[in-house]
């Protein structure tokens, strides 16, 4: 067989792209897709036709990335769109989030599953308010890798000085964020410099091209493989004679590693047992880790159902009815003090009530908004929620999967907001100058 089986070792990188209008985001994505052959002839033809109909003269690549009719008519992107391309090393999922309207909602949504964020700046304009906002959201959502893509270098004569100036300014600002891996790449999306291939115009730049960076950034340690967490999704109980006594707990491992023979505890009951077998998509496993979907059988016939969690005996999560969290609000209806919401966390849903808004963040400056505790659409704030049943959780900083939740409207069923757990209420808040990144 002449099989090309390289795909059997490719991995997956999810990233977001953000920038202000006209920084060149669509051009950059268009180029990544085009150069990796993810744009097809018929798609190109379709946008050529559409460009012509609109009476525009240059090929409008944003038509490729703006999906819906309403958007095309208004000429704006209003929702997160997902795009795909692959190189022999990696498959990429881009969460393309618009920079302007409903930016917080879309950026937060896109960032929630991303490994890496590309933040675009225009080399002529440098760091602007939006750069800070986008970086803050990336940091808040705990994206571990950020690329500051300094675009339109052709318009500043490929100047190393200008690039260094922007890097220095950004570094100063970003020292307040907790992003472990920040990289800087000078590029020209329009001309393709440092997008796929190294630029010949900027010999002073010794780093890799954007695509090379995306292909090689190490993401293997981004997931939590320390704290074993298995939220039960559903119970598999075949009613056939052959598998009469089979009962397995199905779910996606939210953290850590499980092996047959491990001593585990079922929460919230606190009953202990031992793992008998773990079944993955390809059969029985000798170990399973996040984010695998598996089915587990236990040695003892204990009661476990959706919303419960299996953990290792020596390493339980927090179990608390009171949580402090950073909350991003998506709804036109403002967050109500004393308001009741449905809180969905791992595989569990509970009622909760908003006890207090601690502060509201000015996402452009990273400062707290003094004297303003009203959380409206696209606002972010720190809140105290009281939950009807103890939440089995970790801080978001420790584990994205067990530290995140959404709030749902009891009546309309709309998803109203998204939260990142900081911990339990403390008597004291940090000093007024600081805005938490979700950790602590």
């Amino acid at each position: 067989m002449s099989t090309d089986t390289r795909y059997l070792s490719m991995d997956l990188l999810r990233f977001t792209t953000a920038g202000s209008v006209d920084d060149g985001k669509s051009t950059l994505i268009g180029r990544l897709l085009y150069d990796s052959k993810a744009i097809f002839d018929d798609q190109l033809e379709a946008i050529e036709r559409a460009t012509e109909q609109r009476g525009e003269d240059h090929l409008n690549l944003s038509l490729l990335t703006d999906g819906l009719r309403a958007e095309r008519e208004q000429g704006i992107t209003i929702d997160v769109a997902y795009r795909y391309f692959a190189t022999p090393r990696r498959k990429f999922i881009i969460a393309d989030t618009p920079g302007h309207i409903q930016y917080t909602r879309n950026m937060v949504t896109g960032a929630s599953t991303a490994n890496l964020a590309i933040v675009l700046v225009d080399a002529r304009k440098g760091i602007v308010e939006q750069t800070c906002r986008h970086s803050f959201i990336a940091a808040l959502l705990r994206i571990q890798h950020l690329v500051l893509a300094v675009n339109k270098m052709d318009l500043v004569d490929w100047s190393e000085d200008r690039f260094n100036e922007i890097v220095a300014e950004y570094k100063q600002f970003a020292s307040r964020l907790e992003i472990p891996d920040i990289r800087f790449i000078p590029l020209s999306a329009l001309h393709g410099d440092n997008v796929v291939d190294r630029s010949t115009h900027m010999p002073w730049y010794h780093g890799g091209s954007l695509l090379y960076t995306l292909e090689t950034v190490y993401i293997g340690s981004d997931l939590n493989h320390v704290d074993a967490r298995f939220p039960v999704q559903t119970v598999i109980r075949p009613n056939s004679d052959e598998h009469h006594d089979f009962r397995a707990f199905a779910g996606r491992i939210a953290g850590g590693v499980f092996k047959p023979g491990d001593d585990v505890v079922a929460l919230p009951s606190g009953i202990g047992s031992r793992i008998k077998s773990i079944h993955g998509p390809a059969g029985e496993l000798s170990e399973a880790f996040a984010p695998m979907s598996v089915a587990m059988t236990l040695e003892d016939n204990i009661d476990l159902s959706r919303g419960d969690m299996v953990v290792k005996a020596n390493n339980p999560p927090q179990a608390t009815q009171d949580i402090e969290a950073m909350l991003c609000w998506f709804s036109e209806k403002k967050l109500q003090p004393g308001g009741k919401y449905l809180l969905r966390h791992t595989t569990r849903e509970s009622k909760c009530v908003l006890k207090a808004v601690r502060y509201k963040v000015d996402i452009n400056t990273l400062h707290r908004k003094a004297g303003d505790l009203e959380i409206g659409m696209n606002d972010i704030g720190r809140v105290h929620l009281r939950v009807a049943h103890p939440l089995l959780c970790d801080s978001y900083q420790r584990n994205r999967a067990t530290g995140s939740f959404i709030l749902v409207d009891e009546f309309t069923h709309a998803t109203l907001g998204a939260g990142m757990i900081i911990g339990t209420p403390m008597s004291e808040l940090p000093g007024p100058g600081t805005v938490e990144m979700g950790g602590l």
Binding site: D4, F40, D42, L68, A250, M292
Partner: protein, 301 residues
């Protein structure tokens, strides 16, 4: 360095299985929409894995346009039997006879749009509250913004401007009576991923996906197969070509591509170097730039 590594295909597989189980857990009467095409074949395999050793906990539903390639129907029936699944078939023909749908005017009417009527009727008849589909975001740009859990109002309509944000692994399947969800576990898969998975799992697929000789007519760049549902326009003629299909669907609008790819490896190589999207061979998407979006809003798959 951590050794806990999953390939991109494994990650997609674990994600899809999670979604399938989530549907089973959050809904009372789910169904899996099954066309007999490669995406729905992958869906069935994933569903088997998600619930093993149980049988599929939901029926397969096929909305039959009547404009089929016989190979696909034969394949469908064999597969359903092998899997031991329950198959429900509802016919567009019946919707037309009952006056609930109207055949398109003109030559070679396509029944693709009419499937929506039959599908929504089936959803009402069986009170399905979640329909699993094999659609992918990479297929078409209106799908790029589709959610995994896509809410439909009581008229089965999709409101693209008012979608629920989806964050992390938290899927909100709450709804009012009469509303339902379409759920797309393969959202993050590309055509390439699907083929790679079929190769990895050694899945059987209908023979029309492999190169074969067939009589076709070239209609504005789309190669349509010689079937009882196609009549020629003046000046057109059927000619025999070596072709294969990249999707299976209504035979009046599913185009073939010239190809000599006769096994999975060759198909994977062909897809890797293809310059036309798989939907590019579908006449129904060429009707207007927003054809897909308009159909989806009305309740299409």
């Amino acid at each position: 360095m951590s050794t806990y590594h999953l390939t991109h295909l494994a990650q997609l597989e674990h994600e899809a299985i999670f979604i399938l189980r989530e549907v089973f857990a959050q809904f009372e009467r789910p169904a899996l929409l099954f066309s007999g095409g490669k995406d729905s074949i992958v869906m069935v395999r994933l569903a088997q894995k998600a619930f093993a050793p149980s049988r599929l906990p939901f029926p397969l539903v096929h909305v039959d346009t009547g404009h089929n390639f016989p190979e696909t129907i034969r394949f469908r029936d064999q597969m359903v039997e092998a899997v031991g699944a329950r198959l429900i078939v509802r016919y567009v023909e019946d919707s037309i006879r009952a006056g609930r749908a109207q055949e398109e005017k003109g030559l070679n009417p396509s029944r693709n749009g009419l499937q929506t009527v039959t599908l929504l009727d089936a959803i009402e008849e069986f009170k399905f509250d979640a329909c699993l589909g094999g659609a992918r975001r990479d297929e078409e740009k209106a799908r790029a913004k589709e959610r995994f859990f896509s809410h439909r109002d009581e008229f089965g309509q999709w409101d693209p401007k008012n979608q629920r944000p989806e964050l992390w692994n938290l899927f909100n399947g709450r709804k009012h009576p009469g509303e339902h969800f379409r759920v797309f576990p393969l959202s993050n898969w590309t055509e390439m991923d699907v083929w790679q998975y079929i190769a990895q799992e050694r899945l059987e697929i209908p023979s029309i996906y492999f190169a074969h000789r067939r009589s076709v007519v070239n209609r504005s760049g789309v190669l349509l197969a010689d079937t009882p549902f196609i009549s020629l326009l003046p000046g057109e003629r059927f000619e025999e070509k070596q072709v294969r299909f990249r999707t299976v669907g209504d035979a009046t609008c599913t185009g073939a591509v010239e190809s000599s790819a006769s096994n999975l490896d060759e198909i994977i190589q062909e897809v890797a170097s293809a310059r036309v999207t798989e939907r590019g061979a579908r006449a129904d998407d060429k009707r207007s730039e927003t054809a897909m979006e308009d159909r989806k809003k009305a309740g299409y798959f």
